[in-house]
Subunit: 369 residues, 2 copies
């Protein structure tokens, strides 16, 4: 994996770049749709291509439980399994094991937990998390980390972040010879000194990219932005910078402004399934009875398949009837919006007009998104 910085904004830390992988290039800043269990919910790989997705994220935790990473390896790897030939980033399972599973013990070796599906006892450690990601054959792997809860004491966060650094060293060791890129994850909760200490140590170990973890986990929006704005410029310039699990359209704009290159979040896909649709004029809830007779598309300026073909009235009807097509048409629209938002930002940065673009974005989207 190679990363090339293409342009830098003069008035902010925003930047464009290009990640080259054996499975194709990724223009940054980029949003990665989430394909939890090897499928971006309701969407086919062909639709993802038409939407212009350049990379998707898949979850180590979910895939190691079902269908099992060794099975995926036997079947030729995750790309072949899910019919997606472009790059895949796999997370380390850290976030899910702390949010979904029943944790039995966090030890130096790793995390002992019980599957949320069948209760089976498992161990996720730097070595097993990397082994799973090697079996999946992703293009970018993530170090196994402890996702610090929020709120957390300084003492716990300090112990946790030191363990995450030791786990990062072991993750790197385990990744050797895989031919897959490996990103380190900066932890430390809302404590600036811990975050910076973690970052310094990760840079010392050396990774292909650097991520900020445990944001959007309960802290205030101000705290999140503070960590992002303070930390992003400190991440190495010559490597991709990734904020995990963030966020709203506004969060992406602020993340890009802070100098972040990569994002993932379930928000566009999950909200689509709940009938919440994103537009440049704010969000729209399709179940609202105001749309029952509305012949217009979600957004008349949107170029997605859903907006080109269907009315709000039809989309509301599908949602109310819980028709399967509802989830899909809504997901297509929201992913198109997120990917278009990133493309607009890349173009604005490239044209030296990110600040003006950002002002226009907030003017259009209005207060409170």
């Amino acid at each position: 994996m190679k990363f090339q910085l293409l342009s830098e904004d003069r008035e902010s830390n925003a930047r464009t770049g290009r990640i080259e992988t054996a499975r194709g290039a990724i223009d940054t800043p980029i949003f990665m749709p989430v394909g939890t269990a090897g499928s971006v919910k309701s969407i086919s790989p062909d639709e993802l291509e038409v939407l212009g997705a350049q990379i998707v994220l898949a979850n180590t935790y979910h895939l190691c439980l079902r269908p099992g990473d060794e099975r995926v390896a036997r079947l030729g790897g995750l790309h072949k399994f899910m019919g997606w030939e472009r790059p895949i980033l796999t997370d380390s399972g850290g976030f899910q094991v702390f949010s979904l599973a029943r944790i039995n013990k966090i030890e130096e070796e790793g995390v002992k937990f019980q599957s949320h599906i069948d209760g089976s006892r498992r161990l996720l450690s730097p070595e097993t998390a990397v082994a799973i990601q090697r079996n999946l054959g992703s293009d970018i792997m993530m170090c196994f980390d402890e996702c610090t809860p929020y709120p957390v004491t300084y003492e716990y966060a300090s112990e946790s972040v030191k363990r995450t650094i030791r786990w990062a060293e072991r993750s790197k060791e385990a990744s050797k010879g895989s031919g897959q890129a490996l990103f380190g994850i900066v932890q430390g909760s809302v404590f600036t000194d811990l975050r910076e200490m973690c970052l310094e140590n990760l840079v010392r170990i050396g990774f292909d990219g650097y991520a900020i973890g445990s944001l959007s986990v309960g802290e205030s929006k101000e705290q999140m932005l503070e960590v992002m704005n303070r930390l992003a410029p400190l991440l190495p310039t010559g490597a991709p910078r990734y904020v995990m699990g963030v966020g709203t359209p506004e969060d992406l704009v602020e993340g890009v402004r802070a100098g972040i290159d990569m994002f993932d979040c379930v928000m566009p896909t999950r909200n689509a399934r709940n009938g919440t649709l994103f537009t440049y004029r704010g969000v729209l809830n399709i179940k609202n009875s105001a749309y029952a007779d509305d012949p217009d598309p979600i957004d008349s300026e949107c170029g997605c398949y859903t907006c080109r073909r269907f009315s709000r009235a039809y989309l509301r009807h599908l949602y109310i009837c819980r028709e399967l097509l509802s989830y899909r048409l809504n997901t297509i629209h929201n992913l198109y919006f997120y990917l278009d938002l990133m493309a607009q930002m890349r173009a604005a940065i490239g044209a030296g007009n990110f600040t003006g673009w950002r002002e226009g974005f907030y003017d259009r989207i209005g207060p409170g998104g």
Copy 2:
């Protein structure tokens, strides 16, 4: 609507034809995917086109409850509403009102019932059923009929079929000036003389096509085939013949052999969502653990999107995880199979080889399908 008979088999009653409508031609014999509430579940109109669907069926009962037929009319009709430009056949609501709603009273005027969705009190009669179908703007409407239950006494079936004939006269009257075709429905349960009496009366009234109703409602397979084989050749030669709500692949083959031109059934779509997949070598249940490591497609000779792109192992994984993509990929396969089956039969009849084709079909599919 015009119907042209193109070829007739010498060894059976099988035939090919063409129905011309303002929205395009339909080659018969044809299978109509069911789009209950204005959506063939999980499938987009574009996918239906790629699958080669020439006509879809939509349900009067469901659409009059949600989103309401007057609303659909205000929005430009059902074709525009659901984004499907090819022909649509709407049923009369008869079957659903007797199977889904709480019936309050069957009177000469019509059927008083309570909606299964919100309990609201409604009347479905020849006049209201046709008015709803006029609002929907379908290409082919169906007369309002009483779907006789099974088992039923001769006395009840006799009273019921006479009422259905009177309702057919009123349906025809209500349809005048609509520019939409109207089909009559032959009732009479398993009683041959009642079926024949009904047919004679419908022909006397005169319709654009003739359907056989209340088959596959609980009677034995032998009884169903007996009614179909006896009745189909008696239906007018110069109009399309339609068996409603039937059936399995074998039922379609036997229906075509009996001289039927049109079929609809939820089986391919509903079974897809239950993981039951049709092939020319019999059915396959994708949740079977035998497929967990199977790299082959559902059917290596099938040309559908699902078979060209995905393994049984992936499809099983999606099904087990209840991924939304599972329903859709399975539905694409099953509809492709049903539509391909009809295309094979049309080609065989046209080539004068239907009997040979049918023998080959049963040889391949094996005993018990």
